[in-house]
Symmetry: C2
């Protein structure tokens, strides 16, 4: 037998331990996303991606980012982000402005009202993230979780590009 993990069909299946870990990760992805979304929706009437947009903009110079950059940092596709920003624009939290130097670019800019909304939403959101994630792991565990997540994501990126 060429490989102890391979059955006669030539597929390298997961070991029971690997399967357990993988299913835990799957559970994490669905449940954590859901829980975060719930909290934001309930307390601040925001979807997670909307919160991410506001949070990324407030950290940026001029509280402004190009749509394409914003799409990257919020892990959204450009079509998706475009809709999200339209919704936020209709609520007065963000406005759009074409880049004066190259009108192909569109800048998304956080309004004062957007800053205020984010400031109101942030404490409960941060507390929720703390209670679910940060505070149930030791600093070292959290760091390792982040590192593992990074490794997986960069693997995904290298597959999508290469």
């Amino acid at each position: 037998m060429a490989d102890a993990d391979e059955k006669s069909d030539g597929v390298k299946w997961l070991t029971p331990d690997e399967l357990d870990s993988w299913l835990s990760v799957v559970k994490l992805m669905t449940r954590l996303t859901w829980s975060i979304d719930q909290q934001l929706q309930r307390d601040s009437n925001l979807a997670m991606v909307e919160y991410q947009v506001l949070a990324m903009l407030v950290k940026s110079p001029q509280r402004m980012l190009r749509m394409s950059s914003l799409a990257v940092v919020t892990n959204a596709s450009l079509p998706h982000l475009s809709r999200v920003v339209t919704r936020l624009e209709n609520r007065g939290l963000v406005r759009r402005e074409p880049d004066p130097h190259d009108r192909r670019f569109t800048n998304a800019i956080l309004t004062e009202s957007g800053v205020l909304t984010l400031e109101e939403a942030a404490p409960a959101h941060v507390a929720h993230v703390r209670s679910l994630v940060i505070d149930v792991l030791s600093p070292e565990q959290l760091r390792r979780l982040g590192v593992a997540a990074e490794r997986i994501v960069s693997r995904i990126d290298s597959w999508s590009i290469g």
Copy 2:
């Protein structure tokens, strides 16, 4: 000052390291879900939740589970699962049958065609999971990732229930 991590607003914000780790986890959730979905859709015309349904059923006695149990193991809400099973039923991969002893329960049963579909889909899916997750981490890293995921999920569950 009562706590070095608290600013004057009384909110315990995330440290830069905590924020980095958290953003990595967020990135993982969105990107990994997306990548897994892409692969399954492209190669097998299945959504991830549909694959999960088939995979959970095939492991069950009689290849059969109650809708409510199936909802738990696939991390789906009952309304969502109901729609998913309807889709799979229309494709002939699953059928429904009311429990003879208590007709409030509905059993979802994997058909032969469903078994075949799963067997066709599994190798590429497993290979994908391997290349993105299992093979980029050491066994110990993977185990720790699983443990951390478990801890977070049980925290979510205790919040939803308690």
